[in-house]
Symmetry: C2
Subunit: 156 residues, 2 copies
Amino acid sequence: MAGRLQAEIKQKKPFRTLEQEAFLNLLRTTDALLRGQAKVLKSVGLSHPQYNVLRILRGAGPHGLACREVCERLITRDPDVTRLLDRLEARGLIARERNRKDRRVVMVRITEGGLRLLRRLDAPIVHLHTQHLGHLGTKRLQALVELLELAREKTA
Amino acid sequence: MAGRLQAEIKQKKPFRTLEQEAFLNLLRTTDALLRGQAKVLKSVGLSHPQYNVLRILRGAGPHGLACREVCERLITRDPDVTRLLDRLEARGLIARERNRKDRRVVMVRITEGGLRLLRRLDAPIVHLHTQHLGHLGTKRLQALVELLELAREKTA
DNA sequence: AGAATATATTCGTTTCAACGATAAATGTCA
DNA sequence: TGACATTTATCGTTGAAACGAATATATTCT
């Protein structure tokens, strides 16, 4: 019995700080939400990074963004973004074009097909998030958003 | 000018619900924290899933866990966990052994080397989380944890 | 004009994640 | 008991992501 107890104590040796507890909760929650979203995305053959790029490009408007800017928003290295765009371009969801003013930069924009695909996803995605987070209610959601924004201030 | 305005309006067409706003904030925050942790883990050549397995096994005590249980905790498919364990075993961080009672199951436990590695990481990880989340203070962190636990209730 | 810089791409490798199929041990039931 | 199903873990394959180094092209600086 003494050995048993000791073993149990041993397990708890690495105390969890409140910060760690919060971190773990963030991880679990985000992970669960992402899994749900992944199912929706899989129905149209999109990965998370791919979906993110399309969302960014839709928000960027018809002129598109420089590849460099996409990298910065995704916080992803240039080579990886290039290949990400390759796949989306191969499916006709985005288009690339050299910038005439500065021929080093490649402008990326979402195509009509890309917009159509996103529109098809909009309702299911909103529905999913409402289903998963709606029960918190307006007040708590606002509090959550505030806390998260505050958290990120020291995160950069 | 009218065209300009119209373009701006177009961008905002896909309204963001409060739930989506919360989701995006969760994503950004967790992502930022994970990137920070990844740097620490990289210093010892561990990936996130690998670190998670080690943490789980340390918490499981000296008897270890059945491979199946590891799968369930990680929410990862059996084949992938097998290979994840392969890599950790190759580095001597975990050990596998057939269960005598039920020879189908493989018991996985963390080794001394694995424990040593985790201990080396404990301080930097705690420091990192304190650095990134400590400024919220006890009250806000507790509120955050509560909100996240509440959020996950509808997430399974 | 020549050197340094910026932008994007190509190449190579490791890991993760999803899928199907298989091997071995155990459980079920006619 | 023997045929059949179930559980557990592994193997094979594929696609994608992430990290690093190197390259090509265009621009900027001196």
